[in-house]
Every structure is written in structure tokens, then in C-alpha cells.
């Protein structure tokens, strides 16, 4: 499995951005199993890039190929399969169901294409320190807790690529490391790649490639 970015540039960006960026306007190939770090200051289009790859937006020029297929040509149902089987994500804005409990939020993703049994929800939640929150409504959890819920949710399905968009913005170092370790462990189980976009370099992410957006 390979994810390729072919000279992509958001249609609302100036073409000159190609000269200063290591991603925009360049051709890049990400292979399964690779850890990729994308360092990007605010406003450089980090979230846009993650959304383009996930197929949520398409206001860009150039092509994104998944397994040599242009995702722009995907029909709606192709995207459903892509998100269920191949690409998982932790959104910067988390996107949880506030009225549902923590467990329900995670279960909604797990039942779609279960990589783990339901018991693994409890194990992961314990590991990240939110084991006692599973039956609480998500809206009463702190932002840091919600970030951990979103991380656990992203690990419930099979994937070839895990997209992370500032996943630790509200976590302290210790909790961030725990979460990172869990994600590394889970991606190893799937021989998957992690594409980690953040404001700055993080030492505990063992990336093989780094790009400045």
C-alpha cells in the first residue's frame, strides 16, 4: 500500500508556497509501515492536508493517490470503505458525539469494522487513564480526556495509515507519551504507517521521514 501526494497545493494558496514548502507542489510517496512527521506552523495548511488525504475536502490542485488510485475519482461508497478499512484519523477538533458516553463513542467506530473485541476498549482506556470515564457523557469530559477518547476511537479499526492532526495539543508530556506508545504499538500490529502533523517536532515519535509544510 502506498499513499502518494502528486504536486498538491490547496486551491486557495498562493503558488509561491510551493517554493518554501517541502510538501506543497512536491511529489511524495508514503509507504505502509513508515512513520512520517509533518512539522507545520499555524496557518500553513496542516489540517487542510490531513483532510485532503482523508477525502473530506477536495479544494486542491494535484493528485492524491491511494494504491495508485486517484482518490478524487472515488465515489461516496468508496470513501466509506477507505475510512473504514484503510485510513484512520484523529481530528484536531476531535469530532466526538457529545451526548453519547465515552464507550458509545468508541463502540460506534469499533462496530464498523472491528479490529479488536469490545474488551479492548476498557484496556486502552485504563492504559490512557480514562478507564473510569467510559460510562460518562463525552461532553462532561475535559478536552484532554476527549483527546484520549478520539485516539482510542481511531485505534478500533484496521488501517494502513493513521492520520494524526495535533493529537496531543491538550495533553501533558506523560499522557502524550502513553498515547504515542499505544498508537505505535497498534500500528505495529497492523504494519501501518503514521502520518503525524504537529506544530513542532516531538521527540517520542520515532519518525523516519520529516517534512516541513
Amino acid at each position: 500500500m502506498q499513499l502518494s501526494l502528486k504536486e498538491i497545493l490547496p486551491s486557495y494558496f498562493d503558488v509561491a508556497r510551493k517554493n518554501t514548502s517541502e510538501v506543497w507542489g512536491k511529489t511524495l510517496h508514503f509507504n505502509k509501515g513508515e512513520y512520517i512527521k509533518i512539522v507545520a506552523p499555524s496557518g500553513s495548511g496542516k489540517t487542510s492536508l490531513i483532510h485532503f488525504i482523508y477525502g473530506m475536502r477536495n479544494e486542491y490542485n494535484g493528485h492524491i493517490l491511494y494504491d495508485n488510485l486517484d482518490i478524487r475519482k472515488f465515489i461516496i461508497e468508496d470513501f466509506a470503505r477507505y475510512r473504514k478499512d484503510q485510513v484512520s484519523i484523529v481530528f484536531q477538533d476531535l469530532r466526538l458525539f457529545p451526548e453519547q458516553t465515552v464507550r458509545e463513542n468508541i463502540e460506534l467506530k469499533r462496530q464498523l469494522n472491528p479490529f479488536h473485541g469490545p474488551e479492548r476498549i476498557q484496556e486502552m482506556a485504563d492504559e490512557l487513564g480514562i478507564g473510569n470515564k467510559l460510562e460518562s457523557k463525552t461532553q462532561i469530559c475535559s478536552y484532554g480526556e476527549q483527546q484520549r477518547i478520539a485516539i482510542i476511537r481511531s485505534l478500533m479499526q484496521p488501517f494502513d495509515f493513521l492520520l494524526l492532526d495535533e493529537p496531543f495539543s491538550h495533553l501533558d508530556n506523560e499522557n502524550s507519551q502513553k498515547a504515542m506508545n499505544l498508537m505505535l504499538e497498534e500500528s505495529k500490529k497492523r504494519n501501518a504507517s503514521i502520518i503525524f502533523a504537529d506544530l513542532e517536532r516531538i521527540d517520542y515519535f520515532p519518525y523516519q521521514k520529516i517534512y516541513h509544510l
Binding site: 473530506m56 470513501f79 466509506a80 470503505r81 469530532r95 458525539f97 458509545e104 469494522n113 479499526q157
Partner: protein
């Protein structure tokens, strides 16, 4: 593994607008009930009036004339059926056959010879044998033959027997009438010829003096001078003289019909009109209720938009979501239509038992087609519902 809808159901904001939801349920129920009841009553009328007509050989024979009005009184042409009128009647699917009642176009005189000193000017007519109820094998004529068989209306014999005593004439039975030698004299084109006629049968159906077609064709040619086959009366052979399409056709063309034979049909026509109108009204209410329901659904989808959108973002298939969201409403539709069907059944039972005193023509059970329509309505509701939800969900992507 099948994905469960259990966790998704709470994400659908069916909302606090319970009143509008119940209003649309009730509206749909009333519409379906009206529709089913009207159709059931329509069928009841059909069944009850079917058996009330005297049928011969499985067909009804009715005679029609053009209505003579003050405007058309002097214009014979307008009051006759011409070839194209006859063809027009013939092509109708509710008409099995048509025969014009052709009349003599020359002077005919009848006398009973020496036995009864009676003589009168007469009209003779002819009709296809198929249309006559009593056709003995002797009812035929060949050119050169002096004997002409006649078929008389039994009404004429009755009328004769009424006025005969007053005139000092003997009354006659049907058998005697058949034995009386009658002379008919045809006159025209400067020719005059007398034939020996014999009444070979009496007819209950045709109010006329009938001769074989071969005779009248020959006589019209010989003594008459008009070759047009226009007739003032047409006989129609039909499976059901009470068929409302037939009656509507006759009304449209301003044709007058033997009222006795079609009076049940007239009642049927009016009742069917009433129940058709009620049925159409019911259908409109169903459409209105479905529209109301679709607004309610749109509201539900609009309220749940964020949740549904997030489910699609997480990888839920819009197709699967549309199917499962619409499935939530299937029990509601089934419930409403089945309740209406139940009420229709009760009404039919009460109607049969108490209003119709268990007449054998109809049953206490609803007609099978009502059940079929009920299921068709469920299918229609489920289908329109699914299409709407699918459209709305796909728009979210």
C-alpha cells in the same frame, strides 16, 4: 459482521415536535381509511347490482334511439343513426355487437283476410337474427317466395286483445295468432305486390314487426328508392347493460335508452360517482399526509445532520445509513395502514350485517383487492420515504 443500529438510533433527533409527528400519523391514517373504505364500497355496489338484470344467453340487449328534441324534430336526418354512428358504437369495448333496426321505405298494408275483417297500414322492420330472442328455423325468405314469416312483438298482441272487443273483433291467443293467415301488401315505385305472411314467433324483446332481412332488403330495393342504411333504432348486445361506461357513452352522445333495463345502472352510476369522488379525496389526503410526513422526516434529518455527517466522516456508508434510518419508520407505516385496514374490515362487517342484512351478493370480509391496496400503500410509503432520506443523506457528504 452486521453493523448494529442500536448505538446510532439515539443520534437521530426525532425531536420534541411530537404534535406534528402525531398529526401526520393521524392524517395518513384518515387518508388511507377513506381510500380503502371508498374502494370497498365501490366494490360492494358493483357486486350488489350485478345480479339484478335479466340476462339472455349471458348478454343484455338494449335498444337506443337518438333523443328527439324541439330543435331536431323536423330534421329526420339528425334523428337517424348513420353508418358512421353505427361504426362508432361498434368500436366501444363494452359493446359486443350492434344491429340497426331497419324499416320499410315503402308503403305496407296488412289485412287478416276473410277471418278477421281488419286492415291497417303497417311498418315492418328487420334486425340481425342474433338479436332476436325467438328465431324459429322457418324465419327466412328467398326471392320469389310468396310466404313471408313474421315475428311480432308480444306487446302488440296484448294491445290488440285490449281494443279488439270494443271494435267487435275476436280476441286471439298467441297460438291462434300464429295460425292466422295475414296478407301484407307492399306498394311503391309504381309496383304493388301482396304476400302471405305468417306469424312464426312472438318476441318479448323487440317492439316491432320483424321480417327476414333478405325480404326487407329486396323489398326496399324493389318498392323503395333510398339505399341508405340509416336506422332510427339500434340494438346493442352487451355483457352488462348497467355498465357505467356504456351509460356515460350514451349520455355523451345524447342517445335515449330503454330505461327499465338500465335503471340499476343509473343508481350504480350515481353511487359510483360519489364513491369515486370519496376515493379521490382519500387519495389526496394520503398524498397530503405523505407530504406532511416527508416534512417531518426532513426536520428529523436536518436536526440530526451533524451526527449523520460525523458518522459518514467516520466511515459509515451513506447507503447503509439511508436504509437503516428509513427502516426506523417502516413499523409506523405498517401500523398505520394495518390499523386503517382493520377499521375498514369492521366497517364492512357492520355494513353487511346491519345495513345490508347479510345480503348474499356481498360478504362481511373486505375484498382481496383492498388488502392488496393496503400493501401497495405500505410499499409506496416505504419507498418514497427511503428515496427522500437517501437524497438528504447523500447531500451531506
Amino acid at each position: 459482521m452486521a453493523i448494529s443500529f442500536k448505538h446510532i438510533k439515539p443520534l437521530l433527533q426525532t425531536g420534541t415536535n411530537t404534535a406534528s409527528r402525531w398529526l401526520s400519523y393521524i392524517g395518513l391514517g384518515i387518508g388511507v381509511l377513506l381510500l380503502l373504505c371508498s374502494i370497498q364500497m365501490y366494490i360492494n355496489i358493483q357486486q350488489m347490482l350485478k345480479g339484478n338484470v335479466v340476462r339472455k344467453e349471458g348478454f343484455d340487449f338494449i335498444s337506443i334511439t337518438k333523443t328527439i328534441t324541439n330543435e331536431t324534430m323536423g330534421e329526420t336526418e339528425k334523428n337517424l343513426f348513420h353508418k358512421k354512428d353505427i361504426e362508432a358504437v361498434k368500436t366501444k369495448k363494452f359493446v359486443d355487437d350492434v344491429s340497426p333496426l331497419l324499416a320499410n321505405q315503402f308503403r305496407v298494408q296488412l289485412s287478416a283476410g276473410a277471418i278477421i275483417p281488419f286492415s291497417t297500414d303497417l311498418f315492418i322492420e328487420t334486425l340481425d337474427n342474433d338479436f332476436i330472442d325467438t328465431v324459429p328455423p322457418t324465419f327466412n325468405w328467398k326471392e320469389g317466395q310468396i310466404d313471408v314469416p313474421l315475428i311480432f312483438s308480444s306487446d302488440f298482441l296484448e294491445i290488440y286483445n285490449v281494443f279488439a272487443p270494443g271494435q267487435g273483433l275476436p280476441q286471439v291467443s298467441a297460438e291462434t295468432a300464429a295460425g292466422i293467415p295475414i296478407l301484407i301488401t307492399c306498394e311503391g315505385n309504381g309496383l304493388k305486390q301482396t304476400f302471405r305472411a305468417r306469424v312464426v314467433a312472438l318476441s318479448d324483446r323487440i317492439n316491432s314487426v320483424l321480417v327476414p332481412k333478405t325480404f326487407l332488403d329486396w323489398a326496399n330495393k324493389t318498392f323503395g328508392n333510398n339505399n341508405d342504411i340509416s336506422a332510427s333504432r339500434l340494438y346493442i348486445k352487451t355483457k352488462d347493460a348497467n355498465n357505467t361506461d356504456l351509460l356515460n357513452f350514451l349520455d355523451e352522445n345524447n342517445y335515449k335508452v330503454n330505461k327499465d333495463k338500465t335503471k340499476f345502472g343509473r343508481v350504480k352510476q350515481v353511487l359510483q360517482g360519489i364513491f369515486s369522488a370519496l376515493g379521490i379525496f382519500g387519495l389526496l389526503v394520503v398524498i397530503l399526509a405523505l407530504m406532511l410526513f416527508s416534512f417531518y422526516l426532513q426536520l428529523v434529518i436536518a436536526r440530526s445532520k451533524d451526527n449523520l455527517q460525523l458518522l459518514i466522516t467516520l466511515g459509515y456508508s451513506p447507503d447503509w445509513l439511508s436504509k437503516n434510518v428509513s427502516k426506523q419508520f417502516i413499523p409506523v407505516y405498517i401500523g398505520i395502514v394495518l390499523a386503517s385496514l382493520g377499521i375498514t374490515s369492521v366497517i364492512q362487517w357492520l355494513f353487511h350485517r346491519f345495513a345490508m342484512y347479510q345480503r348474499p351478493e356481498i360478504t362481511s370480509l373486505v375484498h382481496w383487492s383492498i388488502v392488496l391496496i393496503a400493501f401497495a400503500l405500505i410499499t409506496l410509503s416505504v419507498f418514497t420515504n427511503y428515496r427522500l432520506i437517501r437524497k438528504l443523506v447523500y447531500k451531506m457528504f
